[in-house]
């Protein structure tokens, strides 16, 4: 009947040939659709989990793969890709200069420390899916589960440390402990994830007490400065004093040598003279007296020579006086 209908139409011989083979065309079309829905590609960072009628059958590796059309379904899981969860902040736009936002996430970062103080801890959890079967089929909402685990673990670890440890020396240790603990909980839940790294980002005291924490740091700096200043003053004064002390002693020694040598010299001179003096005391004495006078008298200013009887007025003296008055 259908053939008759086609015969009535005015068609080219080629079209007629095509129509004659419609069964072949239909079958090849169906085969094409099967091939189309049967072959699938798995990216290099993924694996495919194939389920037949909902039941897990196999895991397929990256590349071109085939599944039964309609009966089998594939779910792709990026097992090689490292994924990241951020706590207390979110990356708004990653790039050379990455933008972060912290507002609105303070609930995540705000926590009690072991000494019942408060601290703001921001951190990142990097993880990979290491068991895609578990990841898909064991826990509903695995990502939010991992978030819950991380928050709980960080708080438990931070809760066993002082606020000072959290802010200063404890950072790396806390990160390691959180990693261990979170991994253990992940395993307990069969989450199928491997935590690669937990990194603490900004760890700060809460804003209302920041000033006080800074004051402590400043005070410590100030303490160091005061001590350093005192030490530097000490170092400036003491070595100088030591040098000066040496100088004083050296001078004293110089004096001592001089004094003794002078004494020796003077005594030697005296002794020499004494030997001669003993031989002719009167003459020597007189000679020395007159010699001394001869050197002393010319140095003197006014010289008045008197005679007890006053009869002899010395013209020499007079002349000398006149000369002096004229000069004045």
């Amino acid at each position: 009947m259908t053939n008759n209908q086609f015969d009535n139409l005015n068609l080219s011989p080629n079209a007629k040939k095509l129509l004659k083979n419609w069964r072949t065309i239909l079958i090849s079309l169906i085969l094409l659709i099967i091939a189309w829905s049967g072959f699938f590609q798995i990216g290099p960072e993924e694996v495919g989990i194939v389920t037949r009628f909902g039941k897990y059958t196999r895991k397929v590796d990256p590349g071109l793969n085939f599944k039964l059309p309609f009966f089998e379904k594939v779910q792709k899981v990026a097992v090689e890709r490292q994924q990241k969860l951020e706590f207390g902040f979110r990356t708004i736009r990653a790039g050379v200069k990455t933008d972060y936002s912290t507002s609105g996430y303070s609930n995540e970062s705000f926590m009690l420390t072991g000494d019942l103080n408060l601290a703001n801890v921001e951190w990142v959890v990097q993880y990979r899916i290491d068991d895609p079967y578990k990841f898909l089929f064991k826990v509903r909402k695995p990502e939010s589960t991992l978030r819950d685990i991380s928050e709980s673990a960080v708080r438990q670890i931070v809760g066993d440390r002082t606020v000072d440890e959290v802010i200063t020396v404890g950072r790396t240790e806390i990160a390691t402990k959180v990693e261990e603990m979170a991994q253990k909980i992940c395993d307990d839940y069969s989450l199928g994830t491997r935590i690669d790294q937990v990194v603490l980002q900004d760890v700060n005291p809460p804003d209302p007490v920041k000033a006080a924490f800074n004051a402590v740091n400043e005070a410590i700096q100030e303490k160091e400065t005061l001590i350093n200043q005192a030490k530097s003053e000490y170092n400036k004064v003491i070595p100088k004093a030591r040098g000066q002390a040496k100088e004083t002693i050296q001078k004293a020694e110089g004096y001592a040598t001089e004094r003794v040598n002078n004494a020796k010299g003077e005594v030697a001179r005296f002794n020499a003279l004494y030997i001669e003096y003993v031989k002719a005391p009167e003459v020597t004495k007189r000679r020395i007296y007159l010699e001394t006078m001869a050197t002393v008298i010319p140095m003197l200013g006014t010289k008045i020579i008197t005679d007890e009887k006053g009869s002899n007025v010395l013209p020499l003296l007079q002349m000398q006086l006149n000369e002096k008055t004229i000069k004045e």
Partner: protein
Amino acid sequence: MKDKKLILYLAIIVLALILITQSTFIVQETEQVVITQFGKPVGNAITTPGLKFKTPFIQKANFFEKRYMEWDGDPNLVPTKDKMFIFVDSYARWQITDPLQFFKRMTNERGAQSRLDDIIDGETRDHVAAHNLVETVRSSNRVPVSSGAVSEEIGDSLANITVGREKIQGMILKSSNEKAKDLGIEILDFRFKRITYEEKVREQVYNRMNSERYRIADKSRSEGQGEASKINGEKERELKSIQSLAFKEAEEIMGKADAKAAAIYAAAYDRSSSSRELYAFLKSMETFQKTFDDQTSVILSTDSELYKYLKSMK
């Protein structure tokens, strides 16, 4: 004739399709199923995935989640034993372990979540209220690592605990599970997510933290001043000691030299009466030379030894 045949074929195909869809169902890896007949559960629950069969039309497949499911509590304001008001935000993961029982008791997941709210919130309240705040925060009695100057001041501020967070979580989990036992579910884990102070308490904590820090700051500053004073004092002491020692040594050296010189002089001058006389004479001569200058006026008598020849030669 041909048309009628075609319609018949089509009808058979449609009927077969309806029959197939009514008698088979697919259970995913994440699901489990309870079969009900006119609303009444029949047989065991189906917990394995795959293609399953049932009686068409009269039986119905009820699907339930097989995976661990989340339970996230609202933050509850709870007083602790030491009368601190804190917000406790916790989470749990749970699973339908007995779908049949679950179907009978809860019907659906939403009902279960609300039952869990009641159970876990109640248990949390009870256990938190039975312990001091620090017990819900710390989980061991570890000794804090010193972080330098500051922790020396407040290093012992970690209070010791007897129970701890981990155990309290465990107790809440255990007693919640007991209460949830006949619901066909099991709670896998319960944990505190966030514990924070209530707003008013938070202010007090800030005040305490502030005063603590300022106390440390003051202490540190005064320590610095003290240390500086100490060094300064040491400096003064050492300075005086150096200077006085040097003075003492110098004086001793000079004294010894003086003594030696005196001895030398005495040995020479004090030899005999004539040596003494010569010394006295020489000294006075020397004194003349040293003390007379052009400002000195002298009146010399012609009777003196010097000018006695001025008058006449005797």
